[in-house]
């Protein structure tokens, strides 16, 4: 797609749409290639009139599916893979739903030029909105708990987002409540994507993440494992994968307690449950302890060269838990999502302590 002609504002949207096409042949053998070169390298761009390079937002999605070489060696019957979502231009998986929610709102007229995008976010979604808005000419206002890291706030500010800081001890729920108050006071001024209730959040994963996984694994995956935050990743990816092959086991993960250090994850029994969450989708639901994820962050960096975030390592921990419960002789191909890398978590104490 890097040589696609006619690059323009809608290129990113067509990139999302493109992935949904040609999916009727399912299950058997290798699925067809997602992106075929539309013209040969030689017939294009040598005329000197075509734009070269790619649009920033066109680079969202199509992340690498990484194969673990060493960390999973205790489970010889299993192969482990993770989508390297930090390769999105905003640095996290959240570029996908943010782009889909914004484009969906433009299509349906809920986002008009001159309006401000306002939402509550613990960080990654905010970074995605801020980046996409800067690239598309919108203003962004974000409510986030003070407990979000300085690194995150600085990234948001760098993109020109306006920040409303809510008390750290109220967590993401406090930020959601504040965002709703701001909207209620001046409804016409804002577009509120409301990632916790917006179906475009999970649809982004239904349209892109799931089909990429299917494609990149040659349809071989047996297990899909992902953590729950807004639940968009798990809900959207699972819905599509189950259509492609209902036998794929889909396992959702949560922190082991209401009080935890897994950025991006929610403990559903004690938190405000997102509207888009569908508890009936998962074949199994497991929990991960924060310290176990921290230890795996350090191992993945040293043994695999992978600098994972705590939630990415927690997702991998979930895969290992499932692998430990496989039947003797059962072969498994795991795919999980690595929502972001460890770079935004370097000031955490666990690097020295755990």
């Amino acid at each position: 797609m890097y040589i696609r002609a006619g690059a323009g504002l809608s290129e990113d949207a067509s990139a999302l749409g493109e992935l949904t096409q040609g999916r009727s042949e399912q299950g058997k053998g290798r699925p067809e290639r997602m992106h075929t070169m539309k013209k040969s390298l030689w017939t294009e761009s040598l005329t000197g009139t075509e734009p070269i390079g790619r649009s920033l937002l066109g680079c969202i999605g199509n992340t690498a599916l990484l194969r673990l070489e060493r960390l999973g060696r205790n489970y010889p019957n299993a192969e482990f893979h993770g989508k390297a979502e930090w390769l999105n231009p905003g640095g996290s998986v959240k570029d996908r739903p943010a782009l889909e929610m914004i484009r969906d709102a433009e299509r349906t007229g809920r986002l008009q030029p001159g309006q401000t995008i306002l939402d509550a976010t613990s960080g990654n979604t905010g970074i995605a909105y801020a980046m996409i808005a800067a690239a598309s000419g919108y203003h962004v206002k974000l409510c986030l708990p003070a407990s979000a890291s300085e690194e995150r706030k600085q990234i948001l500010a760098a993109y020109g987002a306006e920040l409303v800081i809510t008390p750290g001890d109220e967590g993401s729920d406090g930020a959601i409540i504040r965002a709703r108050e701001i909207i209620a006071a001046e409804p016409g001024k804002y577009f509120y994507p409301d990632q916790y209730s917006n179906p475009a959040n999970w649809r982004a994963h239904y349209k892109t993440t799931a089909n990429e996984i299917w494609e990149q694994s040659g349809g071989r995956l047996t297990h899909f494992v992902a953590g729950l935050g807004t639940s968009g990743t798990f809900v959207g990816t699972t819905r599509r994968l189950k259509e492609l092959n209902p036998a794929i086991r889909c396992v959702s993960l949560q922190p082991d307690a209401a009080f935890h250090g897994l950025e991006g994850w929610k403990h559903m029994p004690s938190a405000m449950v997102p509207d888009i969450y569908d508890a009936t989708l998962a074949d199994a639901s497991l929990t991960v302890k924060t310290e176990d994820a921290y230890r795996l962050v350090k191992r993945a960096a040293r043994e695999e060269g992978l600098l994972l975030s705590p939630s990415a390592a927690a997702a991998l921990d979930g895969c290992f838990q499932v692998a430990a419960s496989l039947q003797p002789g059962e072969q498994a191909v795991f795919v999980t999502i690595f929502p972001d890398s460890g770079t935004k978590y370097l000031s955490e104490r666990f690097w020295d302590e755990v």
Binding site: S147, E150, A257, G261, L262, E353
Partner: protein, 98 residues
């Protein structure tokens, strides 16, 4: 000496929904000791089995991170406020850079 400990939302289920607890203490460590003596279920959420404060649990005395003060030995005075904030990515309880 009375200090106020602010309880983060996810832990209020263990303090009978109370948002803050008054503790008698001369240091931050004593205040948290007093707190977890009165609300035993809090203990495993705040401390490791070895008795260390868990690495994602950030403790602030009047908005200063105690890891940059005297850690749990940081002295408290009457009217001080201690906050417990889960590090969802290493933050502070207010918007200032400290």
């Amino acid at each position: 000496m009375a200090v106020k400990v602010l309880i983060p939302t996810p832990l209020r289920q263990f303090t009978g929904k109370q948002e803050s607890i008054e503790c008698g203490a001369r240091t931050v460590g004593e205040a948290l000791g007093d707190l977890t003596a009165n609300f035993a279920e809090l203990r495993k959420h705040l401390y490791t089995d070895e008795g260390e404060i868990r690495s994602f649990v950030n403790v602030y005395l009047n908005d200063k991170d105690i890891r940059f003060l005297d850690k749990e030995n940081t002295r408290t005075k009457d009217g001080d406020t201690i906050s417990i904030v889960p590090s969802i990515a290493g933050g502070s309880p207010n918007s200032t850079n400290d």
